[in-house]
Assembly symmetry: C2
Homo-oligomer: 612 residues x 2
C-alpha cells in the first residue's frame, strides 16, 4: 500500500524542497481550498498581501535575494490578471516566479458556466491562461489526475532552471486528489546542465586559452550572473585571477566595491574624452564615471558574464567592446569572438573555468602585468549644509551602507542616482533598470524582508550557543520616490503587519522626476498629489502607540537635518520601521539620468537621419 499526499500538499512540499519558507498571495473564491492545503505544510508561512500586483513584486523581490523563484498564489481572472505586470517584470529580469492560480473546478469548466470573473462570449475559463503565454516559460493546468505530480515537477524544475516565471493552474476540485507520496523522496532536478558537452568543452577550453594569453583582461559581470546563481562563482573568479572587475547598472553590488580591483559601473560611452568636472560632466554624453569605460574598453579580453544588453544597462547601446576582445557567457548562448555557441548556459561553463583556474592560479593569472590604474570614484558633492541635491544625496547614502545590507532603489532618480554610491562589501541591490515598473520596489521590499529574515534565522541557527547573534545584520533599505510610492503604498502596511523593520527613504520631489527629465518638465501630467503627509504614513498603516508597534519618521530638507538622522545610532540600528523623507527640487536630476536621456536622444536623432 503506497502512502498518498493530497495534490495541494504535494505541490507545496515541492515548493518547500526549494528552501522556500514564505509564500505570497491574496485569497479568492477559487483558491481557498488550495490555501487549506498550503496551511498544512509546516515548512511554509503565508504572507497575505494587499493586492496581487504587489504580491507579484514581493515574490520577485524574494526570488532575487533567495536565488530560487518566489511563489505567488492568486485567484482566477481578477487575481491572475492583476498580477500580470509584476510577472512580466520577473520574466524580463529573470527573477523567476511560480505563479499558482486557483481556478474553477473541472466540471464547471466543462459546462462553461457563466460564473463570476468569467467573460462573454463563450465562457471559456482558460482564456486568462492564454493571455499569460508570453510572460512565462511554461505552464500546466492540472486536470489529469494521472499526470499531476509529474506536471508539477516538470513546471517547477523549468522555473528554477530558467529563472523565468511558470504557471500552475489548479482547478478547485483537484486540491485533495491523493497522489503517490513516495515520489517526493526523489528530489527535483533543478541543476542547470548543458546537453551539448562538446560545445561546452570548447567554450571552456577557448576561454581558458584566451585568459592565459591575455595581457589586459577584465571581468564584466552583469545581472544575469546574479539571477542565474553565478554571483559566488564570479567573485571566486575575480579573487583567484585578481583581474580588474566591473559591474553594470543592473549588477551593481556583484563584486565587493571596496576591493582594490573593482573599477565601477560600466555603462558604455567611453572614448569621448569628456572634460572631467562636475558641472560639465552633467552636460556631456558620458554615462559611466570618468575613466571607467576607457579602462574597460582598453582590455584585450573582456569576460562578460550574464549579460543583459538593454538600453539603460548599456548607456543607450554605447558599449564599445570589439568582438575580438570579447567573451560573452550568457544564459542562452555563449560567444567567443565571432563564434556563437547557441544554447550553452554560462553557469556550468563558469564553474569549470573557476575550478580549473583554482587548481593552478599561476598559470592563468598571477602575475599578469596590467598598467591600468584603479578607476577612482569621483566625489560629486562636498556639501555640508543647505538644500539636499541629487549630486549630494546618493554618495551620502552610500556612506550610510553597511556590509550585508540589502538595498532597493526604485526606478527613477533613485535608480540612476544610487549608481554613484560606493557599496559596502557583500551588499545586494534590487532594482528594475530593464523592466522599470514604478512602484515595484515597495512590493519587492516585502519579499526581500522575508528572504532576509530567513537568511538571518539560518545564520542564527548555525551559531554555537556561546556566540552572540550578529547585531542588526541584514538591514533592508528601500529608496522610493513620492510618485512611485503612491502606486503601491499599501504594502508598507504589510511590513508593519509582519513585524519587519526596513529603513525607508522617501524622495519627495513633487512628482515623476524621471518623466520630467525625459519630457514635459513642467507639464501637469508629471505632477502627483502633493498633499500626502509622509510623516503620518507609518501611523496610518499600523505603527503607532495604540498598537504598540514602534515606528519613527523624519523629514529632512537640509543636509544638516539629514546628517543628523543618518549619523544617529538608533536610526542606523534599524530595529523598528523608519521613514526618512528627503526633500529635493523637482527639477534636479541625477547626472546619470540626464546623460542617459541625452545619449538616447542622440541615438534617436542618428536613427532618424539614417532613415531620412
Amino acid at each position: 500500500m503506497t502512502s498518498t499526499i493530497s495534490m495541494g500538499q504535494y505541490l507545496f512540499k515541492r515548493v518547500a524542497e526549494l528552501g522556500i519558507e514564505h509564500v505570497f498571495g491574496v485569497p479568492g473564491d477559487f483558491n481557498l481550498t488550495l490555501l487549506d492545503q498550503l496551511f498544512k505544510v509546516q515548512e511554509l508561512k503565508w504572507l497575505g498581501v494587499c493586492n496581487e500586483l504587489n504580491g507579484a513584486y514581493a515574490a520577485d523581490g524574494y526570488a532575487r535575494i533567495k536565488g530560487v523563484p518566489g511563489v505567488l498564489v492568486t485567484t482566477y481572472a481578477v487575481g491572475e490578471l492583476s498580477a500580470m505586470n509584476g510577472v512580466a517584470g520577473a520574466y524580463a529580469e529573470h527573477a523567476g516566479m511560480i505563479h499558482v492560480v486557483g481556478m474553477p473546478g473541472r466540471a464547471v469548466q466543462e459546462a462553461r458556466l457563466m460564473l463570476h470573473h468569467t467573460m462573454e462570449p463563450g465562457m471559456d475559463q482558460t482564456i486568462y491562461a492564454g493571455m499569460a503565454e508570453p510572460i512565462r516559460k511554461t505552464h500546466t493546468i492540472l486536470t489529469d489526475e494521472n499526470t499531476m505530480a509529474q506536471e508539477i515537477d516538470r513546471v517547477i524544475e523549468a522555473g528554477v532552471k530558467s529563472k523565468l516565471p511558470v504557471y500552475i493552474y489548479v482547478p478547485m476540485d483537484v486540491v485533495g486528489i491523493p497522489l503517490d507520496a513516495s515520489r517526493l523522496e526523489k528530489p527535483l532536478n533543478t541543476k542547470v546542465a548543458n546537453s551539448n558537452s562538446q560545445m561546452e568543452d570548447e567554450v571552456v577550453k577557448s576561454t581558458l586559452e584566451l585568459i592565459e594569453n591575455s595581457s589586459k583582461p577584465s571581468i564584466l559581470a552583469d545581472v544575469l550572473t546574479i539571477r542565474h546563481g553565478g554571483r559566488e562563482l564570479a567573485r571566486r573568479l575575480a579573487s583567484v585571477t585578481q583581474f580588474p572587475t566591473y559591474s553594470t547598472p543592473l549588477s551593481k553590488g556583484i563584486f565587493d566595491e571596496t576591493d582594490s580591483k573593482y573599477n565601477g559601473v560600466y555603462n558604455g560611452e567611453g572614448k569621448v574624452n569628456p572634460p572631467i568636472g562636475l558641472i560639465i560632466l552633467k552636460a556631456s554624453y558620458l554615462v559611466s564615471f570618468p575613466g571607467c569605460a576607457d579602462s574597460l574598453e582598453s582590455s584585450d579580453l573582456v569576460l562578460n558574464i550574464g549579460f543583459l544588453l538593454s538600453d539603460s544597462n548599456t548607456g543607450g547601446f554605447t558599449r564599445k567592446i570589439p568582438d575580438g576582445n570579447l567573451v560573452l557567457l550568457g544564459h542562452d548562448y555563449c560567444q567567443i569572438h565571432d563564434k556563437k555557441f547557441d544554447g550553452i548556459h554560462f553557469l556550468p561553463v563558469l564553474k569549470r573555468i573557476v575550478e580549473e583556474i583554482e587548481k593552478d592560479p599561476k598559470q592563468f593569472s598571477i602575475p599578469k602585468p596590467d598598467t591600468r590604474a584603479k578607476v577612482e570614484t569621483p566625489l560629486l558633492s562636498t556639501s555640508t549644509s543647505g538644500p539636499i541635491t541629487q549630486s549630494y544625496i546618493w554618495q551620502r547614502i552610500g556612506r550610510f551602507l553597511r556590509p550585508n545590507d540589502i538595498i532597493l532603489s526604485e526606478s527613477g532618480t533613485a535608480q540612476f542616482g544610487l549608481t554613484d554610491a560606493t557599496f559596502a562589501a557583500d551588499m545586494q541591490l534590487i532594482t528594475q533598470t530593464f523592466w522599470s515598473s514604478i512602484g515595484y520596489t515597495v512590493g519587492a521590499c516585502l519579499g526581500a524582508l522575508a528572504a532576509a529574515k530567513e537568511q538571518q534565522q539560518q545564520e542564527e541557527k548555525q551559531l554555537t550557543s556561546n556566540q552572540n547573534p550578529p547585531a542588526s545584520s541584514n538591514r533592508v533599505i528601500l529608496i522610493v520616490g513620492d510618485g512611485s510610492l503612491q502606486m503601491t503604498v499599501q504594502e508598507i502596511g504589510s511590513y508593519i503587519r509582519f513585524g519587519f523593520t526596513p529603513v525607508i527613504f522617501v524622495v519627495s520631489n513633487d512628482g515623476y522626476a524621471i518623466e520630467r527629465a525625459i519630457h514635459g518638465e513642467r507639464m501637469g501630467y508629471n505632477d502627483i498629489s502633493m498633499l500626502w503627509d509622509h510623516q503620518a504614513m507609518l501611523g496610518f498603516l499600523g505603527a503607532r502607540q495604540e498598537t504598540g508597534i514602534k515606528g519613527r519618521s523624519f523629514a529632512c530638507k537640509t543636509v544638516e537635518e539629514l546628517e543628523g538622522v543618518l549619523t544617529e545610532e538608533e536610526f542606523q540600528g534599524a530595529r523598528c520601521i523608519q521613514v526618512c523623507e528627503i526633500f529635493m527640487d523637482k527639477l534636479d536630476y541625477p547626472w546619470r539620468l540626464s546623460s542617459q536621456i541625452a545619449v538616447a536622444r542622440k541615438k534617436m536623432a542618428q536613427a532618424m537621419a539614417l532613415q531620412g
Copy 2:
C-alpha cells in the same frame, strides 16, 4: 489647402465629441508626447491617477455614469499590463473603455531594440497588444499615416456601440503627424442599428402582440439595459404600460424603487414556499425577498431586457421563467419564446416598442387586470441600539439615500447587503456583481465623481439666472470593506487632490468576509492587517488643517453612534470628504450572501451527483 490637425489632437477631439470631459491615466516614457496633444484639447481635463489598475477602474466607473466609454491613457508594457484586470472587468460588465496606449516609435519597433519594458526573446514590441486580445472588442496600432484617422474613428465607434473596451496603440513618433482636420466635421456614427430590419420587425411585432394578449405581464430589466443606454426607455415602458417592474442584483436602481409598481430585486429561486421570518429566511435557499420570485414567475409574459445571466445575478442559475412566457431582449440576440433572433440588439427594438405603445397606450396596457399585489420589502431589523449587524445596516443606509445619489457598493458584504435597501428615486448604483474584482469601487468612485461633476455643471448651466442651484445634489457614496480598501486605497488621495467630496463608508470587519462566508471562516488566509487607522486616512492622504482641505471621519461601533452620524445635517450635506467607519462582527454576513453560497453548494452537489 486643407487645414490639418495632429494625430494626437484628432484622437482627443473625437473623444471630446462623445461628451467626455475627463481622461484618466498615468504618464510614462512612451505617452508623454501624446499627453502634450491631449493638453492642447481644451474640452478635456487630465486626471492623473496613482496607478493604472485604479485608472482602469476609474474609467469604468466614469463610463457607467456617463453612458459613453471612459478613456484611459497608459504607457507601453508596464502601464497597459497593470490595467488588464480593470479593462477585463469593463469587458465582462459592458462598461466600455477606450484604452489609449503610448508605445515605442515605429523605427524603434522595426529595429526590435532591447528597450526598457521589453522582453526577451525577440523584443517584439507588439507582444502586449497580443495579450489584450480577449479583453477588447477591437484595436488599432497607428502605424500607417494614410489610415490613422479612419482607424481612430472605426475603433471609437466600435467601442461606443459595443460598450466593450477598445485599444488604440500610439507609437510615440506619430502623435504629431498632420491629419485632415475637415474629417472632424462629420460626426462619428455611434448609433446602434440592426442591419437585419426584417428580423427586427418580427421581434417588435411579436413582442407587441404578446403584450397585447398578456394578462399578467412583467418587466424585468437587467443591467445591460443600463449599460447599453436603455434605462430611460425601460422607464418609459414601465410608465406607459404600468406593468409590474423588477430589477436584478446588477440592475438595482433601474426603476424608481418608490414606485407602486416596483416589486424588488429578482434573483431566482422562487416556489420553494419558504417560511417567512427573518431567522428562517437566513437558513433557507431563498435568494430573493419573500414573494418576489413567485410574483415575477407567475407572469404570463416577462419582458426581460438587457439580461446578464451570471451566477450571482440569477440566484445561482435558479431563475424559473418558462420559455413560453419569456421575451429576451439582449445586446447580441433577442428571443421570443423558443425562437432566437441572432445579432438583434435590443436598443432599436425597445425604442420602437415604447414609441408604438406611447402612440396608443390603451390598446396595449391600460387597463390590464392584474391580481398580483405589490411585493413589499420586509424590514430586516428593528434595532435601535447596540452592535451594528448586517441585518440592520443596509436598510438603514437605504433610508440615508436621496434622489440623484450615486452609490458604489464593493464586492463582498456591501454588494450583497445593499440589495436589501430601498433606493430613492433616480439613483444610480455601481457594483461589480459579475466581474467581482475587490478594490474596484475605490477606483470606480473617482470616475463616478468626475462624471457626477460634469452632470452637475451641465445642470447648473441649464438653470436660468433666477433659479437656485440644487443643494447638494449628485452625492457620491462609496461603501467599501476594509479588505477591499487595502487593495486600492491610494485613490482616495485622488478624490482629495481633485476636490471631490464623497461619503465613504468603510465596513470594518477584520478581513475578507465574503471569502470567510464561502470557505475557511477562521483561517488565517482570510485575515488582513488589522492595524490600519481608518480615522487617520483622510489626514494622511491630504485632508487636514495644514492643507486647508476639510475632511471628517467617524467611527461607529453601535447603532446609536451610527444614527448620530447619519442624521447629522452636515454629514448628509456631503460638502467635504467624509469617512464613516462601521464596525461589524467578522462572522456576520448579509443573508443574501449566505443564501447565494448555499444555492451554489446545492447546485454543485447536484452536478457532482449527476456526474458520479
